[in-house]
Amino acid sequence: MQTSTQPRFGTEELSVFYGTNEAVKKINMEFPEKSVTALIGPSGCGKSTFLRSLNRMNDEIASARVAGRIWMDGQDLNDKNTDAVTLRQKIGMVWQRPNPFYKSIYENIAFGPRYHGTRGKKQLDEIVEQSLRRAALWDEVKDRLKESALSLSGGQQQRLCIARALSVSPQILLLDEPASALDPVSTGKVEELIIELKKDLRIVIVTHNMQQAARVSDSTAYFYLGNLIEHDDTTKLFSNPSNQMTQEYIMGRFG
């Protein structure tokens, strides 16, 4: 059932409906390995909805329906026979507002791996340290792992959430405006982290911030009213977009 147009990781004719309203319209997109893809566009353009459908978060919303295919290593993630719970493990996600579990810092990271079968204390300790190191948080929290995650600052909490996503070794990381609720210093840290992480991961990031998209991404996609208007190398898209609408948006004529 594999077709030649099928991407390693990407979407084919992906649409999302809320009731009868088509919020995302037949998107074909590929997310290359070891690179950051930024999704930009005005509020309500469907970029977040699109991102959330990639790991079937929309399953939980009763009125939402997703049509089309999401390819990952030859498997259609949107197929009704595909087990959403298992696939989500391979796709990490980080949200706009930090949402650490109401547990200790250690537990926030160890919870996922333990659930998936890692039981040994030593292995778990290792995963916790590794994940926190990759999220550039280890040095700040290594002496207070037993403290509540909610005692961390907002920026630390967000990096903890990234570490938590990394704890189950995902192949893809979805970031939904991960820095929009953070101060400039924390934002800088998160951006550095994204550039560091793409060495081993595919990263898809939704952002409202043009500069941020320009700083961290390799390719950028412009969404408008549920349509994918243009997807190109970030430098190309920002300096010389081929579509008039993209240019207008980037020049700041829209939202």
């Binding site: 259609d76 197929d79 026979n81 595909t82 719970v85 298992t86 659930y115 079968g117």
Partner: protein, 303 residues
């Protein structure tokens, strides 16, 4: 689809867990449904036996004024109790309604913030006092007081005392619904009225109250529903005579008070006992009537 079987242990595990969760929660919900169906079924089967098995006519039960279940020619007119229940709960709502709406206005319009900090806990405490305690206070404080008001011509028992006690008991119900409704009102609505030069009272009277009328009625109906089903507090102060209430200070009865007093003094299966179940069925029936009324009001609210 050979692609879609990552036969890891996690696969089986999350399926199993979700099955457990679903089974457990669905069973709980099923339990709720079973409970409600069996309450209606059992009470109805007993309550209807009065008419189907014992041959008491429904008309006599609903409209008969004569309650004499143990006489030589027994009669089962429950009208005095039905009327007692309606009169006492309507009166209670008549007292508690305006009081509660004033309390809600005080908390949200007159002294917002501070008023709420004082009145809210007071209302919560009132709702926390057990009904037998209300009955006891009514019996030992209110009844002698009412009696002295009548100059000793009455002992004090009656629908008047019942309504007073119930009005305090349903005050929290109506107040909290009214206060919720008032808080949910968009600010702009009031400001538009003030901008036109209306006083606060004019704003409340012409804009706020009419807009919230369905919610306020919802509160009042729920208050009546609670009063209608309340048993012990009323029973302790109403006097328990099987007569139509013709005066506020004359001993009377309600459906609940008759059931309370006679259920353990009658033999199961006899008509004297079954007719009490008919009254319980009447209480159930009224519960549904109140809920339908509230639903209709809510529908109006949405328009």
């Amino acid at each position: 689809m050979e692609n879609t079987k990552p036969a890891s242990r996690g696969f089986a595990r999350h399926r199993r867990e979700d099955l457990i969760g679903k089974t457990y929660t669905y069973l709980c919900v099923l339990m709720l449904i079973v409970v409600i169906v069996s309450i209606v079924y059992f009470v109805a089967s007993k309550g209807l036996a009065t008419f189907t098995k014992d041959g008491v006519s429904l008309a006599e039960f609903l409209f008969g004024r004569n309650w004499n279940p143990t006489g030589d020619t027994p009669s089962f007119g429950a009208l005095p109790f039905i009327a007692g229940s309606f009169v006492v709960s309507m009166l209670a709502a008549l007292i508690a309604g305006p009081l509660s709406i004033c309390a809600a206005l005080f908390m949200t319009e007159i002294v917002p913030g501070k008023g709420k900090r004082i009145l809210q806990p007071a209302i919560e405490l009132l709702s926390g006092i057990p009904s037998v305690v209300y009955g006891f206070i009514g019996l030992t404080v209110l009844i002698p007081f009412i009696s002295s008001l009548t100059g000793g011509t009455s002992v004090g028992y009656g629908v008047g005392a019942g309504a007073l006690v119930l009005s305090i008991m349903i005050l929290p119900t109506i107040t909290s619904i009214a206060a919720d409704a008032l808080t949910s009102l968009p600010r702009g609505m009031r400001e538009a009225s003030y901008a036109l030069g209306a006083t606060r009272w004019q704003t409340i009277y012409r804009v706020v109250l009419p807009t919230l009328a369905p919610s306020l009625w919802t509160g009042i109906i729920l208050g009546i529903a609670r009063a209608f089903g309340e048993a012990l507090a009323v029973q302790m102060v109403i006097g328990n005579a099987p007569f139509l209430p013709t005066s506020l200070v004359q001993s009377a009865s309600t459906l609940t008070s008759v059931i309370t007093l006679n259920m353990s003094n009658t033999v199961t299966g006899t008509v004297q006992n079954n007719v009490l179940w008919s009254m319980a069925l009447m209480l159930l029936f009224m519960t549904f009537v109140f809920i339908i009324a509230v639903r209709l009001l809510q529908r109006r609210n949405k328009l």
